[in-house]
Amino acid sequence: MRARLLGTLGPLLALIAACLFFAMRSDRFLTADNLSIVLQQVMVVGVIAIGQTLVILTAGVDLSCGMVMSLGGIVMTKLAVEQQVPVAVAIAAGIAATALFGAINGLLVTHLRLPPFIVTLGTLNIAFAITQLYSNAQTVTDVPAGLTTLGNAFQLGGSSVVYGALIMLALYAVAAFALSQTAAGRHVYAVGNNPEGARLTGIATQRVLLGVYLLAGVCYGLAALLSVARTGVGDPNAGQAENLEAITAVVVGGTSLFGGRGFVLSSLVGALIVGVFRNGLTLMGVSSVYQMLVSGVLVILAVATDQFSRRLAQRGGGET
């Protein structure tokens, strides 16, 4: 148990250490204003990472997350701007589109038993193509205010907090509760840890997997709304960075790529680590090439720590 705690607390300690480091190197880092900016910058990836965490907990991976999010954003904005669809309906349609992709991913994984890596690689390309074609590779501008309200901020103790960031935190709270305090949540872990064993104990593993991919799709739709709110446009090229960044956030946060282990809140820590480094290195005037370097090193450290803590946790028999 102690070893697994290392895997989970490690990233949090790394985040704190990074914050202290940047606070020493720039007196602008630890201001409420700057931290609020970092939170805003992280909120889209943060929400995508919730869905990605669910998938990775089942020992899968969703390579299509960013592209599906982008599709959701285009659907929402195009409907609202060009078809004058009421904002609430447009949002629902966007989330429905991303949920549909989630369902497709889930069905291909459970019924055709294709590896999630391959399936989502395919849906990544399909989602990207549909987004480019539907949007004609043009950004959708003049988006109605209703779609961007979550990008507005309110004052909290001298700095502004964006509503979208609160939504992200609320979603994390819901996800954390569901995964740790409900049977359905524990079943996600069981399916990721030992799928055949879970099936034998009577868990409907197909339904669990399908549900996970579907919920992930919903997360991507919510992230799309946050992305539109943040940038004020529907951008067909949004989501390309978030694609890998979301997976990085989950892995750096300590969730095991082998499934069955990890906490969703860690993905928030992972996302924050990436955002803090990007912000801090810019404040220090360091080239962004080093951000990539740091990101790569963190991923390897995270996976190595995960492997190490797993080996420590197991006793005898050479069982995995």
């Binding site: 872990y189 946790a313 069982e319």
Partner: protein
């Protein structure tokens, strides 16, 4: 032990590609009896009990519970019929705790709003009941909240045994329950099996451990090449004869009648 059959199978056939795992095997289990199943590797023992427990669907044949024909499509169907199974591969989630594994698939929820609407788990109650199960079995662990993967092979098996015995309402099937256990723990499992039988349930016990089988079983089902070749009386037949029938060195017809059941 009465002659009423609680679980019966007729002519079960199961193929896996070109391999015929079950070749029209029969099976019968009486009320309040301990039935031992012995057979060489590849005899189809594990496949048979997976068919009985709903873990796989036979290609042909019928299964009857209390004389009524049933069609198990998933393990939960068999569980609903009161059949609990302990699989050879243990079917535990190593990263989850002992408590979570014991209640996997049948978690307890909190009462009232928290449980019904928020679907919140009642961890305290599950912890209490888990501790009781494990104590009854005499399996010592540091903490019920520790992950199953931190347990020794024997303790892990103890958790799986406890799970099958604790929730059983009708039939318990155990595939190699004493395989990883030491002498003392093995004896405790045999005691548990007897207690389960005395509770009025029936137990199916697959084991390579002949002395264990002969110690607790009321009857012995001999499996060979996907079929049931004999039903033996452990009090009448000798262990070496039983093994001989199991390996095919002796055909059942060669056995005297008092050894049969």
């Amino acid at each position: 032990m009465t002659d009423r059959l609680v679980l019966e199978a007729r002519g079960i056939v199961k193929h896996f590609g070109h391999v015929t795992a079950l070749d029209g095997t029969d099976f019968e289990l009486r009320a309040s009896e301990i039935l031992g199943i012995i057979g060489d590797n590849g005899a189809g023992k594990s496949t048979l009990i997976k068919a009985l427990s709903g873990a796989l669907v036979p290609d042909r044949g019928e299964i009857l519970v209390d004389g009524v024909r049933v069609h198990f499509r998933a393990p939960s169907d068999a569980r609903r019929a009161g059949i609990e199974t302990l699989y050879q591969e243990l079917a535990v989630a190593p990263a989850l705790s002992i408590v979570e594994n014991l209640f996997l698939g049948r978690e307890l929820r909190r009462r009232g709003f928290l449980g019904r609407v928020l679907r919140m788990l009642d961890r305290r109650r599950m912890l209490e009941e888990s501790s009781a199960f494990m104590k009854e079995l005499g399996i010592g662990v540091r903490s019920m909240k520790q992950a199953v993967e931190t347990l020794s092979g024997g303790q892990r098996q103890g958790v799986a045994v406890a799970r099958s015995a604790a929730f059983a309402r009708h039939v318990v099937i155990m595939d190699e329950p004493t395989a990883a256990l030491g002498v003392k723990e093995g004896k405790l499992v045999l005691d548990l099996i007897r207690r389960v039988r005395d509770r009025g349930l029936s137990v199916v016990l697959i084991s390579h451990n002949m002395p264990h089988v002969f110690e607790v079983a009321d009857r012995i089902h001999v499996a060979r090449l996907g079929r049931r070749v004999a039903m033996l009386d452990p009090k009448g037949v000798s262990m070496s004869d039983a093994v001989a029938v199991m390996t095919g060195a002796m055909i059942p017809e060669q056995l005297p009648p008092h050894t049969l059941s």
